[in-house]
Subunit: 291 residues, 2 copies
Amino acid sequence: MAQPNLPNLTVQQLEYLVAAAEGPTRAVAAASLGVTASALSQGLAELERRVGVRIFERQGRQTRLRPQANEVLTHARRVVAETRDLARWAGMQRTGQAGMVRLGTIDAVAVNHRAEAIRRHRRATPGLDLRLTVAPSGALLDSLLVGDLDLVVCVEPTGLVDGLVISPCLEELLYAYAPSDVHVGAPTEWGPWVTYPEGSHTRKVIAAGLSVLGAPFAVIAESNQPEVLREMVRLGMGWAVLPAAGAEAGAEPLTRARSRPVGVRRLVVARRADVVTDVAVDNLASVLLRG
Amino acid sequence: MAQPNLPNLTVQQLEYLVAAAEGPTRAVAAASLGVTASALSQGLAELERRVGVRIFERQGRQTRLRPQANEVLTHARRVVAETRDLARWAGMQRTGQAGMVRLGTIDAVAVNHRAEAIRRHRRATPGLDLRLTVAPSGALLDSLLVGDLDLVVCVEPTGLVDGLVISPCLEELLYAYAPSDVHVGAPTEWGPWVTYPEGSHTRKVIAAGLSVLGAPFAVIAESNQPEVLREMVRLGMGWAVLPAAGAEAGAEPLTRARSRPVGVRRLVVARRADVVTDVAVDNLASVLLRG
DNA sequence: CACTATACTTAAGATTAACTAAAGTATTAG
DNA sequence: CTAATACTTTAGTTAATCTTAAGTATAGTG
């Protein structure tokens, strides 16, 4: 489309021009750039040739800028400044202080286990655009695979997921909680249950744990939110198996029906395998793994 | 020396990046630049190396821009546009006064309001290479910002556009037109409508005007060309709100459904703010403002 | 009027960058 | 599976840029 061949000016040539305009003599300008006067002279001659307009003129034994040079000089200053900005941005990008990370976690991680770590990391890297999505584990892993998220903390998926790198992060003990007015008998008498919806990773862990204890698993209500499940137990709707952090927080914590846990929920940090290493993501991942 | 040596980017490398971002594939981009795909590939690899940030990634057999590339791409577009300005200035400097102006207008301006003014100006300055692009307002402003156009006459954008200088040019009254066989009742009975596509500046003006009148705005067909909309009304497909100049021209002019206008479309002359003053553009701009 | 320091420029040779053409590597489409 | 597509890599050539060293012109000094 637009074919009027542009002059192939280099940032270096523009730097030469800026330095030559600022220094009292070219020798000084050359020294401040760390090149020889000869290099500066040749570089400026080439710049003038490419722009195609006489920019310099001899006055005595000095070479001075002609009035026409002001347009070129303005252009040079602008491009040099813009390139400096770009270089600074690139430096921050390399060290992970800038950029964007789309983090997804289950609610227990964002609300309890890593809330403080995320807040600290956000304060420590103000240039970082950190976006947090809270959703169930399955949805998070789907988004990660599709590329809508960069980093996920969720319940360990059953079996290997192709294309993901998964690192163990922490383990949550799951306890059974009964409504306050109910007698806790043998596990065979437990229930009915309020729990996570069909398809939830945590529900699989709960079902397996209850099965080992010989407890029936009759589900009468479902929710993805542990706070909602906790309230259902408090209202006497049924029993629940929940991570202690969620069940025993707030003004009226639930009390465990049994001191030993029903199961263990293993939380992991996941990221795409094929993706180019991004320092910002690496940094956040290590913060989340450390706690 | 507080100088963290700047990357020696060349205008050519930045042009490569812009072309690569705009072309569907690198092969196409390379051809549009008149170089081989290999040259483009090597040039972009060198650019990436100098910036020091990964900006490309393979996706299937294509190489795509990573999100990080946007910063670099913005920089590239800006520097390329600035260099184009500089080159044009240099050309005028060399040739004395002749130059090139790339004018963009919406169709009503080129066809009706300023057709004669443009013809006169072309005759008056035979040395001027005046290029006219007719397109919708949004596309014109995009081209202007990118540097593909020097001067634009379009519908006034909503809100300030950064980097542009905008001067009011003229106002067009927009009237409602009904198919000839339709009874014109109260505005609440008007429609359905044929109008400009979603996103069009003019459409926003029309929608606001109809809303004030209490007329429903059910759209059954769209076109960017007022002639096409006029023909649709003539064929009885629906109602339209159009500038009088477009609707009431030709052999069979439409007649207004209501003598008072539905809205006002304000046309403006726009140009980039950062550009070096170009006498040729200045002259044309004042011709267009005067009429 | 030399004599010399200053301020650049030009020349020569080495290094580096950038191009084309051709071969290589995945990936997708039939 | 084969062919086509989309890039990248390699090899070899040409162009640009650097340094050192020599050249030119000017200004100040005795």
